[in-house]
Symmetry: C3
Subunit: 496 residues, 3 copies
């Protein structure tokens, strides 16, 4: 497969090799340039182009993301472009919200009974604000996605909105645009989903048992709601876990055992990693008796917020300990203040665009854990951050000493070309290339997977071309590095 050219029938029939076709009827053509994101200087661009070409058709390894496995298990067609590209993508809705478009106008349903706009209206709102995405990572992905996956030839705008809506709705109904067909055309080698420990993994099982399906979709164990003892729903979550696992979670040892059991269940279904969100990376390692006492107090509602926080860190520490025993890779996505705007949370729920990053600190936070497991032969962790300052200051030095520590790719707000360049510049001089976990797309938007990996490959090609042009690396070394970043590193780091 050649991702420089379109990946679906409609796109292919467009010719779509990046030549800019003349706009007609006053509309602007949408045709991402084949050399986009590569450096302008001619000599360096040629190097970058060769490096990019050497990896652009490699299969995609996606060790972390938020695609719903049901999508592939059921293989239903996507209904329309707004439901596919706008309403569920909080990168998109948040920026439109900042420009005064309300979330119901973008199709979000609230708790107060406000009627969300119909998909066509949502699409119009999106298209008429298209210029507001100029310069953003989302614009890059959407341009690639619209053109290369969905075969669109004109820029979204107020004028083209209806025409594009009809064109895309029709196209999405075609067999070639169903999830499984797209999975094939995206050339995905392995896709990890993100799943609740209480999930029965029926969709993963269905896929595994389906003789017509040859893809690899593995679950990831994401136990946040059982570990975060500060939230109001924690006790209810424990009860749910007890019901699913058949293990009484009414005391500390029970919760630990239930989690261990569910990890085992996940491993049986192909999981190789756990994933964790927390405000920071601190973990506690209390004596069992003290942990039990703390658990009882929090569960009884007699503990204060600080104690609940300590228990949460203790439970995260248990996850590290379990990883050192069962070998599941521990991916840490820390550092966000979730749900910054309470009224938006109340009306629209979480993951609606107002999680805001916090200052990060890893050196002190991780010391107690790394003291225990940092050189343990079975333990492995991948560290992500939303605070760029820790790349050169903490993460590269940690990954440059501890065999268990891998550098996670720039994540979320940092999953964008210039931020990715800064990441490479910040970590490479200390940790080299082979302490990296490779790229993760972290996406909820299934159709954005190829665009995101393609962006990462272009940025790496650009970065490496600079080192080659400055005679820091030979071009053959650079070619090996970019291949390793796309094949070897994610497999090693995530145990895939």
């Amino acid at each position: 497969m050649d991702r420089g050219t379109p990946t679906t029938p409609a796109a292919r029939s467009n010719g779509g090799n990046g030549r800019r076709t003349a706009p007609h009827n006053g509309r602007t053509s949408l045709a991402p340039h084949p050399d986009r994101l590569l450096p302008p200087e001619t000599g360096q661009r040629a190097i970058a182009r060769r490096l990019y070409d050497s990896v652009r058709d490699l299969p995609l390894i996606s060790p972390h993301g938020h695609v719903d496995p049901r999508l592939l298990a059921e293989d239903q067609p996507f209904p329309d472009p707004a439901s596919l590209l706008v309403t569920p993508d909080h990168y998109v809705t948040r920026l439109l919200h900042a420009h005064g478009v309300s979330l119901p106008e973008l199709g979000l349903r609230d708790q107060d009974g406000t009627e969300p706009a119909a998909p066509r209206e949502v699409w119009r709102a999106f298209c008429s604000h298209w210029h507001l995405f100029l310069g953003t990572a989302s614009r890059q992905w959407l341009e690639s996605e619209l053109h290369e996956v969905l075969g669109v030839e004109v820029q979204p705008s107020a004028e083209t909105a209806d025409e594009l809506f009809d064109e895309l709705t029709a196209r999405l109904g075609e067999p070639a645009y169903r999830p499984r067909a797209l999975y094939e055309s995206f050339n995905i080698a392995v896709l990890a989903t993100t799943d609740d420990p209480a999930d029965d993994l029926r969709h993963h099982r269905a896929l595994a048992e389906d003789p017509t399906w040859s893809g690899r979709v593995v679950p990831t164990f994401r136990p946040d709601r059982y570990l975060d003892a500060t939230g109001s729903g924690w006790v209810r979550s424990l009860d749910h876990l007890a019901a699913v696992s058949g293990i009484d979670t009414g005391d500390y040892a029970g919760l630990v055992r239930a989690l261990e059991t569910r990890r085992e269940f996940f491993r049986e279904h192909g999981a190789t990693a756990t994933d964790h969100s927390a405000p920071d990376a601190r973990m506690a390692f209390l004596p069992e008796q003290e942990a039990s006492r703390l658990f009882d107090a929090v569960r009884a509602g007699t503990a204060d917020e600080q104690e609940a926080g300590l228990l949460s860190r203790q439970l995260l520490g248990e996850m590290a300990r379990m990883s050192s025993e069962d070998g599941m890779v521990m991916a840490l996505h820390t550092g966000s203040r979730r749900n910054h705007h309470p009224e938006t949370l109340r009306r629209f729920g979480p993951d609606t665009g107002h999680d805001i990053p916090l200052q990060a600190e890893f050196t002190q936070a991780l010391q107690p854990m790394l003291e225990r497991f940092g050189t343990h032969p079975r333990f492995q962790t991948v560290l992500f951050t939303l605070d760029e300052t820790v790349f050169s200051r903490e993460l590269a030095p940690l990954a440059g000493f501890y065999p268990s520590v891998y550098l996670g790719a720039p994540w979320w707000f940092l999953d964008a070309p210039r931020a990715m360049q800064r990441f490479r510049d910040a970590v490479t001089e200390t940790a080299g290339f082979h302490r990296n976990a490779g790229f993760i797309d972290d996406t909820r938007g299934f159709c954005s997977i190829p665009a995101r990996h393609d962006t990462a490959r272009r940025v790496d090609a650009a970065h490496l071309s600079g080192l080659v042009a400055e005679h820091v690396l030979s071009e053959s070394d650079a070619a090996q590095v970019i291949r390793d970043l796309n094949e070897r590193q994610p497999r090693i780091a995530f145990g895939l």
Copy 2:
């Protein structure tokens, strides 16, 4: 007006279009290159040049700065180059101080009766240390200012100091170099000053009522000394405010009312914004009764420093509340440790070059305020920082969700070409271009206004040319963006 060429008669008569003329008598010519700050690579430079040309003659919008309105109201000539360019500019005096030149040698008067050097001596000190400014933002501005505004053709040096002093002193006496004539030649569309709430705004009124004056100079409400309850002069300030407003500021409600009244007075004189300095951006929202009690304790001198700090944050919170009601934009300039060197403060007063930035944090600090006003239809805030780490981590994510939050331009130590590039790189991928408040010159140096805007335009042209050369933006999109950054964005963000 063509700012690529000189803006004053003397400068124009120099030819002054940036051609380097041969130095004579062993002196080095001063002729800023027409392509300065544009990228070296030929293809990209051509793009940058076109983008820059498309905006360089746009009128200047200056929504924040420290020009004294009396300057324009009275229109007196500037006395000499040292009094104009050296003594009042703490960017200049601080670096000379770091190299061992004392502040009295730079014309500053101290409390101990040390006689400050005469302007010619000050000018000599400045010229003989001119090379120490190499690479600084000040050097850029001064070169532009000297050449393009003031028509200077040779580099300052020990050898040229006297000749330049005489030449400039004579020139500043000419009608074309008076403040109003310069205002015209600078092509300023609107200039906001920074004013004390107790100010009677007589100079603004005089300008507004002067039929021979067609410029727009608006005040900005800057109430720091009434909000900062930790300082020793706070009670005296409240008394002064009471005298001016005719409202008793002896209790909390009175102070609030007095501030509201003065805001109204400012709005009647054209103000659209308030401006605030504080160590950080935290605001408190106490129940009125608690705020009153706190006020009474601080006013009576029975409160400790922590309580005084809380009251200060409470009063800043009141400003946010008032903005949500009266629609004045709330500009926040936080994050400096003022007056780092107490002996220099004692001798020379504040704003003498030893305010040093602090770590900044906005995500937690602003949460209580944004919870209340973040989506309020009348509320708007512009956030500035001296800590670059918050650009990608906090400010872009906040501005990319809250409709009320605008990104302030890189400020003070960061108002320099490379820092501006880093700012654009840090925020654009998350927030795009249209959450920016545009450029502010923030200057005390009236004659530096065109140089500072010109620098910003060049840097934006350079930045955008990179995105065009990498095929991230089309050149026509980039041209629209740079126009928006110079026209639409500051007007929208500051309500102008």
Copy 3:
């Protein structure tokens, strides 16, 4: 001497001018490109090349490093390449450790009696992991060192390891590769070592008294173990200091006097600076009586950790006071969490690759000290950091006001080309070039000295060429700046 070409006989006989010779027998040639680290764009590279050429042969000034003076005093040959380049270099061993090579396999001796690998085995382990250093600063230095100092022509690899080991072991036995001969060929003007206050400086004296030796090797006073009252060995250190100095260190005044006496002893042996490691830069200035009480409590073991920390800061403050009196420059290397992995510390001791940087803060931390000594005519400090965020936020503003504050070069993990570029970009616009202390190599690897200085000169040439190409500096100004950075600035900043 021409450092673009090899500096030793064997290297010179290789031709070694950077032409890539064809690899033979499937091996890859090792020939660092003459234009490495210079910018790719042709026009800018030409500027950079001229700037680099203008300084590449200047004598090396090394005001801070960890070369053992015995090396030069005794002038014994280096035994083999592993003992020279691998085992003692924690930049190298840490990254190999991260890739699963144990420290005994790299020649480190532990406390448990594990037999370390023989040098040839160590060298094999190093060579077979050579690709893991791609992109790191260490790779740059090692390539230069191997090729230009040691005359190696092929890349290390599993295949070439034995051959290289034999070749290098033989070469190191030749007279031209003894330390003193290398010192000559490196063209070192002055080399500062780092020494314990109790050291008798016999090697410095031996060199000074040796009529056959014409180099300049000066000690640096590094009193960490006597100032850090939090460590378990502190009391023992005081006793040792008492024995050496003949001054009772049993009370505060005695310790202060003993330290003053040793500083004087160091100055008599040519020292111009003191050097300090601490978690942060805070200093305390307690009244003498309070300091005495604190000292007594800590010494008696009745104080808690917080009090011990306060005493440590008090003692660091005494160092600043002494510097203001005796004129020794105070170099601060703060901000590392030493010995992050306790088990590695226990087995292998300190400086074994697991010191991890911490967040830094200078504005508040240094205020009390700068309030006292910031404008003192005899006081001078050079500030280093492992946290890049303070470069633009704190260090450049401090150095841009206080005449006593100099900017230390990017240090340790930041002593690498891209990080050095970021440093220049971060500080120059605020502080210019002449508040910099110039480059320090900070190395334990004697043979890496020329490679490290050469890297710094190339990066400065690259950085300045960008400013010249953007018409920010004239090329003649840039040439003066790069000369100043290599000659004038380190001599001024370190009092050499």
